[in-house]
Symmetry: D2
Subunit: 150 residues, 4 copies
């Protein structure tokens, strides 16, 4: 799970935060959010990120002729979330030179700011012939240039 970080970079990281609300259907019999639902929260975060830093939403990627399936996901659960509770999903772009898209997530409870969960995902690029791209697609290079990230 180690990822190269450009620690010399003075550039502010690309981070976006979105607010979510826990649905009744997401809570399990322990009266806390079922651990699998956090995958949806990460997806909420990722999608909001991709709309905010325009060009990386699901529809943008699709329009570019690619899909970006998740190939790896890691989650650490710190504190529970409860029904009807508000939380924030902070989604941070993790620079990489590989033909991948890496994100880190921090989910915080709104009431006390406590971290509920952290996680990472890695996505690859699959072209419209169903093949995984070993080098970065042009649309993604363009996105990186626009937002000034590696």
């Amino acid at each position: 799970m180690k990822r190269k970080r450009n620690i010399l970079s003075a550039d502010p990281a690309l981070v976006h935060t979105v607010r979510i609300k826990v649905r009744f259907s997401e809570v399990d019999s322990m009266r806390v959010v079922w651990h699998g639902e956090y995958v949806r929260y990460f997806e909420d975060g990722r999608e909001a990120f991709g709309e905010h830093f325009a060009g990386l939403s699901y529809r943008d990627i699709h329009a570019s002729g690619y899909t970006t399936p998740i190939v790896e996901m890691h989650v650490e659960y710190k504190r529970p979330l409860h029904v009807a509770e508000h939380a924030t999903v902070e989604t941070r772009y993790v620079p990489t030179e590989a033909a991948k898209i890496c994100f880190e997530y921090v989910i915080r409870r709104e009431t006390d700011g406590a971290v509920a969960a952290i996680g990472t995902t890695t996505q690859v690029f699959v072209n419209d012939r169903g093949e995984m791209e070993l080098s970065m697609p042009e649309f993604f290079k363009e996105w990186k240039r626009r937002w000034n990230v590696l």
Copy 2:
């Protein structure tokens, strides 16, 4: 929700039963299956029916060039289902002369045979140009002939 039934018909109705097991993730904070999960159980029943009475599974329909979206669904909840409990989904084909597929469902707890829920769904036929068919597609007529139903 009234549906014509061919009560003179001597033919045994087309009915198929499949066994399911309640997942932990399907149970809500009341410690019973969340009401929305029954939609999946109906789908389990419908899919098992379509494989048993060959020619009406999701893949059969797709191979025929159609999709059959649900246009109406009705559910009555009678008794709760609990975590790790086994249940049966009985799926009954409801004859109709319309260009529709109608099913009735009965979900029973395996322990005591009690009815947990009953329901109905109605599906229509959409062709590969995305248009709803007003008359029955040939593949479905063929299916009805094969299984001797109206």
Copy 3:
């Protein structure tokens, strides 16, 4: 599905509208929202209603010592919803003298205002001994008085 409506009543119905956004995980292989996900949208609508007309949210009901399980649900699907699309869920309280809570829902696409689905739910009152209440609990009578509905 017929429900008595107090058509002489001049009172404005209790209606609340909440905005939702279609998640990627809610879309099926037909590239439209899977029909079972509408159950979550209704729940979003109901919960937002219960918070707006204070005293009927999940947590309010729970604090009153009751649960209000769904005993009946009906959905009609009119037009599809697509990934990342915004929609509105309009939730309308349907007056009844029975010990029940009845709602009607209208889900509309935000782009064109077209109705995507309509539906109804009926809930009953279960006390903290797990028994269904045949008469209206005091907290619900109080809620009705406060909001001036039958």
Copy 4:
């Protein structure tokens, strides 16, 4: 994600395999299983394991006065799963001396035996006062003795 393995141990590891079938509702608009659904498959595997090696099912743990929330999860996605496809979930107990339950999972497509995904989960013990146990509960020690694992 490295975990000590008792490689000198001659004992056959505790492994259990359960068969699953992909539901239509689990498939996304890419026509493959949505990555979040694998969390349910892991849970299916874990639950089947806990019933096979008696004493570690959800209900056994609950009856012992504990819950065992997931504190960490890792998934690597190798190949897609498709609608109505059968797969197997192999669940392997990973010995540890800590007050934790660790599992490894391998999900394989039934058609070609290809690995669809691998993963790990870590669970801790929470007692009925809601506190995390720093040492192994007696019921779990007993379970380990019964099945002869560390």
